[in-house]
Amino acid sequence: MTAPTRLARPRVEVPGSVDEAVRRLAELGPDGAALAGGTWLMRSPAPPATFVALHRIAELRGVAAGTWGALTTHAELAAAPLPPALRALRTAARTSAFPQVRNVATLGGNLNARGFAEADLVPALLALDATVEVATTAGRHRIGVEGYLRSAHGDSADPAALLVSAGASAPAGRRSGYARLTVRGGGEYALVSVAISADLDGAGVASAVRVAVGSVEARARRCPEAEAALAGTTLDEAAARAAGQAAAAVLTPRDDLLAPGWYRLEVLPAVFARAAADCLTDPATDHDTGEAP
């Protein structure tokens, strides 16, 4: 309680390329951090002495079909013309936080914010089976987002690993959706968030179901028990609620000032039902109600 305000004022370096950024991050080690939108880093009580700002690196920007540069903002994702298969990502981006944050917070920052259980894009990308391109001192590689998150948030994370982009495929017939629950109408961290992706056949029966749950545990994670419960269903409300119950049976919830753990479990069926409904939203009647960036 002694420090009246956040007074740390890190210096900022502005590399012009991914390679240069990676090199500087490697040299700085724990004394440096990549700076994207800054909405997480600038709230850190103990930021590193140096920020390596990414904003001048053109390669990290831009939205191409199925690929988003690490600097893509939540607002840009919310406004992007994503196909129904990737709807979960759009809904997640659109309902996260509020305009001032969505306008600057980035996909790369969202995936890399340490200790941020409520990051909205994470469950969406997990359910979409996204892959990410990573640059390190050893070169570039592409890996699944689940594996990436495990290493990036692990104890032996490589401080120089830079997320370059993320991508996900959007086969015809695939649908995805997202829902989050808050105490107030919005503008706050999700207490529970659920992303669902599934391939629907002509009769609407789901296969290749992937479900991820955010906010409940310390990190968002896939939930195979819920996936099994949804496979072979039409993602109807009853099936979604059953899947929520299956998830509740295996998740170990966090208690914190935002919500008690028991509550996060109890509401899972309802939030699953909302996420499933988002999957089934007819793209033809889905009027674009997203706000302006």
């Binding site: 309680m1 002694t2 420090a3 009246p4 305000t5 007074l7 629950l181 105490v183 107030r184 109408g185 919005g186 503008g187 706050e188 961290y189 000032l257 935002l258 919500a259 008690p260 509550y263 109890e266 509401v267 069926p269 309802a270 939030v271």
Partner: protein, 778 residues
Amino acid sequence: MTALSEPAARAVPATGAVGRSIPRPDAEAKVRGAAVYTVDLAEAGMLHAAVLRAELSAARITRLDTSAAAGLPGVHAVVTGADAPALSGMLVVKDQTVFAIDTVRYAGEPIAAVAAETPEQAAAALAAIELELEPLDPVVDLDAAVAPDARLIHPGWADYAAPVDGFRSGNIAWDARLEKGTDEEWSAAFAAAHRVVSDEFRVPRQHQTPLEPHACVARYTTGRYTVHTSTQFPHSVRSRTAELLGIRPSAVRVLVPTVGGGFGGKLDAMLEPMACLLARRSGRPVRLVNSRAEELATAGPRENAVLRLRTAVDAEGRILAQEADVLTDNGANSSGETVICAGLPALALGSTYRIPLARYRTRVVYTNTAPTAAFRGVGGPYVVFAQESHLDHVARALGVDRRELRLRNVLRPGEAMVNGQALDDPILIEALESVERRAPWDRERPATPGKLRGKAVVPLTWLTNPGPGEASVSLSDDGTVLVTTAATEIGTGAIQTGVRQIVAERLGVHVDDVLVSTPDTDAAGFDNGAQGSRTTYGAGNAAGEAAGELREQILRTAADMLEAAETDLEIAGDVVQVAGSPGASVTLAAVSAAAMWSSGPLSATGRFVAQPPEFDAGCVIGGLFSTINATSSHAHAAEVEVDPDTGEVTVLTYVVAQDVGRAINPAMIVGQVNGAVAQGVGYALYEDLRIGPDGRVLDRNLETYRIPTALDVPPIDLEILENPLPTGPYGAKGVAEPPIVPVAAVLACAVSDAIGVTVTDLPLSPFAVLAALRANRR
């Protein structure tokens, strides 16, 4: 920083200023970002202060050494309890020092303060202060604090001065009772009762959260302190700062820039004494501003409370006798209003309904937590929440319709409130009828599939703060009128529109030509502060009286100039004219000039304090507030929907009928009702300033302390009822406070109706509602 703003276009006619929704003249500076708040002040040579605050809520200070800190670069002053040993307290119990001395009584209590060239140097100095604390067992729970074996938070309580006699002992800072009826009557009522219903309610702390935090800039020169500060009550800051520094009040001059919100949280000195000590020690101006975390942890919130009610009713649900045992949390000392307001719960319980026999007791309890303070509607929101939820319980127990139960008990004209005070001219029935017209009680509207629907209606009598104030009004050389007062504009519009409209109306001048000085305790006499909805009423009365006298002076001078009788003259805009013959006129500027060298400048001072009403003094024991001044009548009704899967509450309709006496500026009233209902929605549904078992405030930011957003406030259907108060300016009563008072009650009763369980705790968070639903299902 000055409110002497140049008037905009003359959209408003000269007369008939009262009753118009004129836009506030300070709005333009605010939308341009040009208004200067205390947080915006900067002076050459200004130092930045920071406060070392206790990390523990109960401890003995075993070592405090500031010598290393004092020697650091850029550090100009370090002060501690040794520099300010005096005791003070908000009007009553003098139990507070500026800094903790020997003992820490709450987490966040100031231990020392530093002033340095930069905020970074100030932070470094704090880190260099050597402090050792020996922990004590914190006393946090209210019931535990009043238990006979509780550790005393102030072992020397009996030695504290208290200018008012009262009942105090140990951890009970104040004990107020209201007792009506003899023991025989009491036993007879309970013996005859058809039912006796008991409930226990718990409410948390609610933080005012003004967007501008507490902030001040202090200077010291030759024995006097000049403090610019964000306050609602400059004279309180003056006298409390003086008492805490052990100096006379006139040695402190308080000036108030634009204030970024108060809501009760800025009535007392808080940072000012520390800034003054540092300014004196350093010889430099010193700025001290609370961080949001400090604001939440240490700036006194609405008190948490436990309320136990027991009511005897007859078969129709008429109240025969009621008992209440209320514990309210004073926190670690009496720096806020909680002790002064100890008498309010009894009045809030017994001013809306007929309570033939009462045994009400409120104990204000010391705990090892941050001191509590006033928040809009002091004492009201939780007492009314408890009373109304309890009455709903009674209605359900008897099978009586909930609205009908209220109609059977609500006070009618000519009846007396529980303290024996006659309720002058209540229009509670009219208020209930007003909401009934717009939201018929029997209207059955189907719930959204899967949702639970509930409704409630609550009548309310509320008060206007009676406190004293004076104001001066003078005629300037250009014919404009200047009001000089220490009454403070905190955002409600009471000064910027209310007082100006009253003065304009009284004089007959353009409202644009009435200017109001900024508060300066060296320039204006006492004013009781922006509290209890009193500014338009109290300061308006004082300024109105002064304007009336100035009007006579103006007419006297003009009569000489026009060679007409005073009684034939009228003021119309910027001229004085002979009524009926507009050709014969002089400008106010000319009147001012003519007076200058004949009678001297024209000016007058008005004063006001409400006269205490008659009441049954025998029934009030220890209450510092024993009567209710300038009552107004209200009714609120709401319809809510509850999602049984998540416990989410949606407010569908919100209907208000409010007796304002006379609407001086209807748009400002709408603004006060909107804002108060929004804060009430926050209190009812979200806000909960949590305190850990160790006494520390857990909510450190606006992420976890949830105030309503634009998505959370229901549409409000307001009918303004005019029921003029003979002693109010043009009939006006207090407006700003009452509309927060019934909100938690009406929403809790509606949620209870929806879920079929009496809600006993606030807030009705989705967690609480879902837990209640689950418990009921089992």
